[in-house]
Symmetry: D5
Subunit: 147 residues, 10 copies
């Protein structure tokens, strides 16, 4: 057994039971973004969260242990994602990547926006011309240090 | 001459003159995000914007014409970006890609978040533990249609 | 179980029963193009369509549930397809890609032809020198917006 | 000098003179699709077409000779195109590739749709919900032969 | 079950029974080249050929059905083949590719040599300095059409 | 200066002068296949051949010297060729590669068909249904030796 | 002019003048590790450092400006480095990567060792069996946060 | 059974039993770095170490034999690692690779830092601004020899 | 069953029985180099050798048959090998490849060193500064022929 | 100027002057293998060797300085070499790589054959059936150490 087996079991259980990620998140007491990432094998649960997920998805003790092990991260099967929804994000990085770089450096100087001390919030933005997906990303700025 | 030559000339002129993208944006009358993408060869100017950029960066008439031609987009030299700041975004797509997909589908059903009918806003979020980069992405949801 | 298992079961059942995609489409009440894409794991069924497919291919309840889950799309095993029929399409993109880009921009300006708000129609075009495959693609034009 | 130099000169001349591909096509007496592909270095001109293009774009005799040489075809700089408009076509091949294959085989048997004995027609399809790009592809069906 | 399973079963049965491809071809009434390609999952059998192969290799009815389904073609596991015999062919394409292109265009003009309306004949060419492999390839010339 | 410069000069001179490869071959006294490969930078000339090519294409002494240096071989810009004519050969290797391997081993045992002790002959095969390209490849069989 | 031109000029000037990186670092008042990375186009200088480098390497005002622009980072020409010294580091990541991951997680929990808030120190470690290279890496631990 | 099976069994046993690598190392009498690499299938055990690991993880005799066989090394599933922690190391090689090369050559001349006669030590470096990961690498310098 | 299964069974049996390749070679009556390559699925056995290997490793009749089938060659899982020992050989090809090419051409003219009519001998070369691996490669020179 | 420029100048001078690598090696007083690698930009000269090469090839003082700088090594333009002579070596690594690994480990235990403390000797081996290329490689065995 490995973390991947647990992830697959969670996904299959979710389809079978018809629960939403939002409900799962409420059970865990975390945001739906972090909770989904945890369930998809990208984050690490503490004891309580593992137990809660175990109840939600019917996971045994061994499976819950795996949720507490730091996983080998990376959730996409190819370097350039083939799924259209995920590809659009890759396209944003490709088309706007140099723009993002320029503007963060203009505001903050040399460094990066952390993808670790990081949070994400995905919501529906109602719009008469068609609703929009609004995503707020917040990452700590980390300056390169000289030494 | 091609669009790439114009982009390189703009970048060199910006370094030489020491202007910021924010100032350029004010001259164009658009957001700093869209303006920077335009200057970096990813967007298309109208006649007035091309003229304004010509003044800011000292571009000739031929060069301004190129700004009005739709460019071949894509601003990164490799499939997986090597620059740490841009890579963090690729990492977000890699680690959170499946999460983003799940949550948008949970809220909207099958479809994508547009990268065309799309806007981006990058700001500084003051934080006592270290300021953060806040990025708001807004893209129209486009449902797959059946036929 | 996952969507891929359901796709493989559908394909095997189709070979075994000897039905055509056109017949399947009639049962679903959709075009043969969209129906085939659904059966091959690229589209998402509603409840009625899932039930209809369940009957056609002998799928259990759990399998029908998977048809209603948005799939991870992408139906080709390699970046450059090896199958000659599919490769010809990749070749069209490669040889005519810049032509398509120029002509759409000439007519519509900067933007894209949607692959989401999109339909396809494949028919036989009788021709004394040898029948032809006629494919009509229709995608909404989406302009890049300035902001 | 090589064909690529001629292509670049044609593109630069087109930007400078502000002519459309449609006008160029009228001068050549061919469709705008084939003419654009010719100008972008993918097709081969006959003597008359080369002369006409020479006039339109101000090409010398040596340059016209290159238009009559069969080019090394392929108009994209990367295996997976980065430009969003062209990528959407790659995505169509990726998402619908297996569907296209199934339906052509269902109608015609084993073989391919030719990308050589092939024509393409791109037009605007007015639509109250937003105009659409309509592309008609027509390729001769070539059956695999047994021997 | 899929075509690949049938191919593997055929190969294993061939090793076990010790028959040659030439014998199989005689049973099918086709050339040894086409027959081998069929057995290796690259071509499509008609009803009679499927039945004959079923007898030769002990295939059940379901397996015979798969032989009549057009396969996803491509018989090599990597882009650049690692097997020395097959690599030599890739090398011929690499070293002589531009030569082949020049000479076919010199004789026929712009177009291709079909790999679909195509046959191949492999024979032993006795030679006192060491026997040679003689391969005759014959493919219909398909001219690019203007439109 | 390097061999590549000489190759480019030869190609440009050929376009400019309008000579055919067949005529060049007659001047060299070798087959058109080998001569073209030589001119395209894949083979090595002896003193006499270099002199003859020098006359045909107007090459100086330094350039003729380069024709006598063994070149770094490989005439294609990408692993999978994008040019349709050359791609068809790659496709033949991909679709028929395992067939070629099986049949050569069936006839000769373990070993390869040499791509060095090798010759190629490309001719037009008249056919009422459309002329065909006939290519005869002849390579010495080299058995793996045990030791 | 771009940063790459400045980097190449610095490298050529260093060879020509025969200075060591250690001497350059003393002039800048930073460690030799950070200074070398700056000169090789990976870090960003402040005004004083740019002026000092200008003196050391004879750089003009425009060139000094480029040193103050945040560069597009990444100093290797291929994904897997071909240079043996640098490859050994890639090999360490490949062979010990999972070990490093396990031990950092065992000590710190889920998170990463920063490559931004990071310093490196390279020294000679005398050893009778052959001197050793000692490299000390120090990176802040950044925990994944839950939200 | 192969080494990979043994590695997977060790990892699963470790999760199940909740032991740390440090405890395992104490049982083996080696550093935690080398021991972890051994358990993850990168190093080779002697008889005693294999027996000790057998006890710790409940491995049978056959499994212990595999620990004594030199493994095919390399612990990462992709050329560019997707896991953020391991990627940071790849980034260090990418950003600082040329710096490391310059400084080792400046001190030692042409040669490499061995990744075989090599040791690694990972410790926690307490820091009021947030603890740091300190990694000491020590590799013998191997000079290129002339001959 | 296929050749790969037989290879894996041989490797597992070798670990289990603790025999050396040298002993296996003696049983086959061939060099240890060729014998190992045979056992690792790269060469083809004759009837007697297959029988001998069957005895050594406890292979059944079906498995022995597979040893007599010419295998699909290539023993490495990635284009650039990750295993340090094998990578060193790839590095030799990378660093010395152009040198090897120059010197063989200087001595022999245009052609190659055969990897088919080829043998290899690996021995220990005692050396007071540390024993060395001595590898002697011998391959027939094959000249390119003109035609 | 950089090392690559010097390498190209050396190669062009060698063609122009018609000297052999063996003569160059005599002038340097080193083996022809090491000398060729030096001239092709893979090794580092001392002062005397640089001066000698300067005389042989007519290199100026600045160019000689570059010969004394440790180069970024790697002499091949692609991961899998396209040149047939060099490819045969890649094929040897591919086909015999696992064999080489097994036999070195059988004789020496875990470790590698050094590609740094390494020498190579290429000679002609006369043979009535066709002369052979004999290559002797000698590399120090470096054991993995435990710690």
């Amino acid at each position: 057994m490995n973390r991947n087996d647990v992830t697959e079991k969670i996904i299959a259980a979710k389809v079978s039971k018809g629960i939403t990620w939002e409900e799962v998140a409420r059970r865990i007491g975390q945001s739906k973004e972090w909770t989904t990432a945890l369930c998809l094998g990208q984050m690490t649960a503490n004891a309580e969260q593992a137990r809660a997920l175990g109840e939600v998805f019917g996971l045994g003790e061994e499976e819950q242990k795996w949720l507490k092990v730091v996983p080998y991260k990376g959730s996409l099967p190819t370097e350039v994602p083939t799924d259209p929804l995920i590809y659009r994000w890759y396209e944003i990085v490709n088309v706007y990547g140099s723009t993002i770089k320029e503007l963060i450096h203009e505001e903050f100087g040399d460094g990066i926006m952390s993808a670790i001390d990081f949070s994400m919030d995905i919501t529906r933005e109602p719009d008469p011309k068609g609703d929009r997906v609004k995503v707020v990303l917040s990452g700590k700025f980390l300056p390169y240090k000289t030494y």
